[in-house]
Symmetry: C2
């Protein structure tokens, strides 16, 4: 039955738990690796023909229930006119990090985000034409974008971000407000292009204490998540201490990382809010038998209330064997029916 | 009043909250940096005269309530005969990671850990002679040592470790059992040398789900924490989801990272278990005024039950201004008296 993914997000009954995988299009796939021999990540992402090719590869190989647009989390930052580059292994590098209010002024003289990132919309349109599977768009959350803008690049536990939150809270709040507008424009553009659901990646939210999360991240997230009409999914990691707050963000679903048993998460996040997750991506590095034991454990913990999407607790790791991904998808379909 | 630190660990009344700081001896201090110009970290740590010099520097500069031996977390691994090196910025690099049961056999042909690491004992004896402040010894926890042995070096979220836990659980359990013996020998040697309390650093415990923690980490920790007679402190990060399990490990105190408000932690970890923490180390990068606001917030959250040690939620960051550390220590002493 098609439509399992969207039906679950709409609270309608399905014939089984839908499954898609974060980074289902990525370095573990032979076609993607071949394209990367000739093109940089941003080059791929900015060419809608190639980007849709990348997004379709896992759909041809595995019986997944959703496609996700191939794009990079830095696109909305590019739209703000900030000079940056992508370093392999490191991720986004912002050449002039935001540290003082003057730096914010530069940001404010910003571009038309939806126009600057129109290639993402074009990829979504191509995907809608090419597949019957629902197409998921996405953006990084304002807080996670702010982490890169303030720190300059990934640094363990982002000390400069925490310094700014404690030492220049007003500056940080202004930065978040600005990025909230950027993210909303970016997501609405994807919705107009035909994205049928949108995921917000707040990878670094777990750095914050609950007090900081409710003061800084939560207001911007509530704005973002209520600014679109399609269903939304919210993802973060290392954030068990924030789960109570995340339950009331207004997202259609919360994506849980592998550290928290999903039945425990369900005690905090009540139905009908969808829970998404949460097999440890490292299970796909183990033997097929061990992988199935771990996947079976996640399935057993899913309360059979129909409000679940099977996924990993984080993205597919580059060293994953595609055969194990196929086996996982088939296993979930075989063992989650009859709801 | 001297003795605040040990009195708190013994459950006795004090005239104020004791304070020491993880990595209080380190790269932010001028004397340490000068020594590092001429010596590698392991060279410093293995020379008891220099190592005690390093440990005493912060005691001369700040009114801290405890000294901590200067040593590296890899010393117990060196005792097992595993070839490794320390890379600046990366940390321990294990040249032949443990991946198969044959690799475990190599480990088993192990050395006399207490003898191989006797220099740490000698540093402790020198510290006891040189200061009236209590001297804290430490070790990495068996699980955190296992992370380096299996992964080979720090890697974000240690995927090979998680693969082994899911795919080769018996091998991982055997490795942990072996390391448990190593850590116990190492800590007992420090106790015999005069350490008056011992901290166990389980930096990477937060990777584990509660089920994995209770199956793998907990049994080894309970053995370790009950194998010595002096009071013990247990530290981990990103581990709010494990706090309920940590409360029953048998440690005298639990060190809480900055993400969890310490009054929330107290609801989970009942008195008389000591709570240690938990100012965000990034607060020391902010202005003195902002730092005091953040430290005041931690002090306000400390229930005045006498079972607390003020510390950071993680180690002092290298870019910290020593003047701010002095201000923090004086602030805590000035605002935590009268208990």
């Amino acid at each position: 039955m098609t439509g399992r993914f969207l039906r679950t997000l709409r609270g309608e009954s399905t014939d089984g738990v839908p499954i898609w995988l974060m980074r289902q299009a990525g370095r573990y796939l032979p076609g993607y690796r071949k394209l990367r021999e000739q093109h940089g990540i941003l080059e791929l992402a900015k060419d809608p023909r190639l980007a849709s090719e990348v997004a379709l590869e896992p759909l041809r190989l595995f019986d997944l229930d959703a496609a996700i647009v191939f794009a990079d989390i830095v696109h909305p930052l590019e739209g703000t006119g900030v000079p940056l580059r992508l370093d392999p292994g490191t991720g986004p590098v912002v050449l002039h990090p935001v540290r003082r209010s003057e730096d914010l002024e530069t940001l404010r003289a910003s571009h038309d985000v939806a126009k600057e990132t129109a290639f993402v919309g074009e990829t979504i349109r191509r995907l809608r034409d090419a597949t019957d599977k629902p197409v998921l768009g996405f953006s990084a959350a304002p807080f996670t974008l702010a982490c890169y803008l303030v720190e300059g690049a990934y640094a363990r536990d982002f000390p400069e971000v925490r310094r700014m939150i404690l030492g220049q809270p007003d500056l940080f709040r202004k930065l978040l407000m600005h990025l909230t507008g950027v993210v909303i424009d970016y997501l609405r553009m994807q919705e107009r292009a035909g994205a049928q659901a949108l995921q917000v990646f707040d990878t670094w939210a777990g750095l914050l204490s609950p007090g900081q999360y409710s003061k800084f991240a939560q207001p911007s997230l509530s704005e973002v998540l209520t600014s679109v009409d399609v269903p939304t999914l919210y993802f973060s990691t290392s954030s068990r201490h924030l789960l109570e707050l995340q339950a009331s963000l207004g997202a259609t679903g919360i994506s849980v990382d592998w550290r928290v048993p999903i039945d425990e998460a369900r005690k905090v996040v009540g139905a009908p809010t969808v829970l998404q997750g949460n097999l440890d991506p490292a299970a796909l590095l183990a033997s097929p038998e061990a992988m199935e034991v771990a996947a079976g454990d996640v399935l057993r913990r899913l309360p059979r209330d129909g409000h679940h999407i099977f996924n990993l607790g984080h993205g597919v790791l580059p060293q994953t064997d595609p055969q194990n991904v196929k086996r996982l998808v088939d296993f979930v379909h075989a063992h989650s029916g009859g709801e």
